[in-house]
Symmetry: C2
Subunit: 205 residues, 2 copies
């Protein structure tokens, strides 16, 4: 694609670095911005730069935050002795949008994956272990991806905290609501058979 | 979707204003930028702002340009007496990428569409008519969208320039290469029957 201007080309190249954006979509975005008021584009650009410059990570749970301690950690209405361990900030947002969880989070920043060169030291695991000991946490809920890396991470952390008196659970895995049995993969189906629940407990939940 | 930070939310809202970008995709982009170096995000933001601030439109053909006259208009290798009339800059880029056209362009900025409140005065039509008279243009090629608005625009411009001695043509319309007859709409099929070509002319082109 030959573009008629270097300024345009640079802008398209910047947009094309974003995930899932090809050159054509990038061009569409840039031409859209070109049609906007100069002020609006200035605002767009300044908002992005300011976000990157000023955003903080909560010193306790590593969630994104406007201040040193995030709104969830600072909220005394929430059960501070319950920690949900997640991979990233998107997972926090997903769980928050269910409005069903009233505890706090700990964002690991990924899962242990030796093939990708990610070991425990690259993740916020030491701080989690320290936090559990320090805060006398009552329950840890793992909400990690249901794959080998997620399971490895759970296993690793559990080993590290087994001397501490806190309950360790993981979110339920099984057939999704609205999912059809015949399209479920064998692993999920086999596991959900093995971990079957008494109907009375299921109805209550 | 509840976001944990106002800075994050503002950035997501800015991205969500772009065409075809919803809140979830916007969040994915913002979190991607958050993982980049501060310098890279600064560059992203500055490139967009600079593009909007400094980009120019060619004073002759209204194509995007880094200078007052665009590279195509300034190129003496191209047939300056041949003008291809297009709706927007994307069409220029599309035709340029075929590498088959060696004339110049005139970007109208849209087509006449009374329903959307777009009349001839909102478009670069007066400048086109003036340019054809001034430059003694030999041929005008209309490459507009094949719909009522496009046809109206062609008809309007043709009326304005009929006293001038230039040839007026439009790009061929018909069944696309690789297209299947049975899936073509009736209008296209009927028109391509009516405008059929002698096979010898077809083979030559």
């Amino acid at each position: 694609m030959q573009l008629p201007s270097t300024l345009l080309e640079n802008a398209v190249n910047e947009f094309a670095k974003l995930p899932g954006i090809g050159k054509k979509t990038a061009l569409r975005m840039v031409l859209h911005l070109l049609k906007q008021n100069a002020n609006e584009v200035e605002l767009f650009s300044e908002t992005i730069a300011k976000m990157r410059r000023e955003i903080k990570f909560c010193q306790r749970c590593f969630n994104i935050s406007d201040s040193d301690i995030c709104a969830i950690c600072a909220n005394r209405q929430r059960k501070q002795e319950m920690i949900c361990v997640v991979e990233n900030i998107r997972d926090v947002i997903a769980i928050e949008s269910t409005q069903q969880f009233n505890g706090t989070y700990h964002v690991l920043g990924g899962v242990i994956s030796p093939l990708d060169g990610i070991g425990p030291d690259q993740l916020n695991i030491a701080s989690l272990v320290h936090r559990i000991g320090e805060e006398k946490t009552a329950e840890i809920i793992f909400a990690l991806s249901p794959n080998i890396q997620g399971d490895t991470t759970i296993y690793y952390i559990q080993k590290k905290i087994q001397h501490l008196p806190c309950t360790v659970t993981t979110i339920a895995r099984g057939i999704a609501f609205g999912g059809e049995l015949e399209y479920a993969d064998e692993m999920t189906l086999a596991r959900s058979m093995a971990n079957r629940l008494p109907v009375q407990q299921y109805v209550k939940s």
